[in-house]
């Protein structure tokens, strides 16, 4: 049955309409969870607020398990779902640069959009930065194209690489996430937040 668009059950126009509705859900959940606040987001790196850890990993687990169950019931064909390609060096380097951007700027792109739309000027400035960054990448592209496309590994899934089933990997993620939540609750007590 699913994915509906890939299996041509809905047209591209309908798919774009759903994209807009899904976006509304995405933005609503991010904002109402507190992701429009850079101070709450940055808290995860200092222990005074582990909101990011809880929301991010609960969301990852929910969707990971949900998709596995939907696939088990035959409702969604996981082989037709887009899996991001892996270019090893670029994936690591990009993550490192984004991590630095996160600790300096206090936002990521999605959360800055949420912050900006409710009036956070720091989020608006962050978005200006995003555009500048993308333009820098685009203009300098010939300089780093080779690096960007180095070590293409296709679109592997982690469980294939380490040779276990998706279910076992998901179970490992559940256990890791539960321990992270436990650590998160513990550090929040240890580093109490000031009110803000």
């Amino acid at each position: 049955m699913g994915p509906l668009f890939v299996n041509e059950i809905i047209t591209q126009g309908t798919d774009f309409l759903f994209a807009f509705l899904i976006g509304i859900g995405f933005g609503f959940v991010l904002e109402s969870s507190g992701f429009s606040s850079s101070r709450r987001l940055a808290g995860v790196f200092y222990g005074y607020d582990t909101l990011v850890l809880k929301v991010f990993f609960t969301a990852a687990l929910t969707s990971m398990l949900g998709l596995l169950f939907l696939s088990l019931f035959g409702w969604v064909d996981l082989s037709s779902v887009y899996v991001n390609p892996t270019f090893l060096y670029s994936a690591i380097f990009g993550g490192v640069v984004m991590g630095a951007g996160f600790i300096l700027g206090g936002f990521c792109p999605g959360t800055s959009l949420c912050g900006a739309v409710i009036g956070k000027i720091d989020a608006m400035v962050f978005i200006v930065g995003l555009f500048i960054g993308i333009i820098i990448f685009a203009e300098g592209y010939p300089l780093w194209e080779e690096f960007y496309k180095a070590m293409p590994l296709g679109s592997p899934k982690l469980n294939e690489v380490i040779g276990i089933s998706q279910g076992v990997l998901a179970l490992i993620f559940v256990l890791v996430a539960l321990s992270l939540f436990w650590v998160g609750e513990w550090v929040e007590k240890k580093f109490p937040a000031e009110k803000y």
Partner: protein
């Protein structure tokens, strides 16, 4: 208390996970943000500097791969939705307020300079990572993508590694 104003984080996580499942079930893809900003950059370049867009490799490669045009993209519609959804949430919770949010220990000016620098880095990094925290890390994790999980660990690992040096900005 701060926690009372916002949704319970575990509930928020489950809801976000359900949104991500819907994206995969309906459209066969995950969520994102930086991709739509890239579409805007390419679209503006195509319009204001068409000669440059035809010659510079980045734009040329994108335009050849996307004959339908940069704005005819799933992520552009999704990000338009994000703006609406976040605005509705902020309006309902009474959080619509023009302000620079920063630690009381630093000035607004310092916060904005760092926000700009962080945005520039995130913009560059999201291109190398082929997606940002939503598109690469979160959506990648949901489908167990190796690249997404690597990028996720690199983002958080670097954040922790650098946290000490920028602590004055936050605590």
């Amino acid at each position: 208390m701060r926690s009372e104003k916002h949704l319970n984080p575990y509930l928020g996580g489950v809801l976000l996970g359900l949104v991500l499942i819907a994206a995969n079930f309906i459209s066969g893809r995950g969520l994102g943000a930086s991709g739509a900003l890239k579409s805007v950059v390419i679209s503006v370049t195509n319009t204001v500097a068409p000669a440059h867009a035809e010659n510079a490799k980045f734009y040329k490669e994108y335009n050849e791969g996307h004959p339908e045009g940069p704005m005819s993209s799933w992520l552009v519609f999704q990000v338009a939705g994000v703006l609406v959804g976040a605005f509705i949430s902020g309006a309902l919770a009474g959080r619509l307020k023009l302000k620079v949010e920063h630690s009381p220990k630093i000035t607004s000016r310092r916060r904005l300079i760092f926000a700009l620098a962080g945005g520039i880095l995130f913009g560059i990094g999201s291109q190398f990572g082929r997606g940002c925290t939503s598109g690469s890390a979160l959506s990648g994790m949901a489908v167990l993508s190796l690249g997404g999980i690597i990028t996720m660990m690199a983002i958080f690992g670097t954040g922790y590694a650098l946290a000490y040096f920028f602590r004055k900005n936050w605590i």
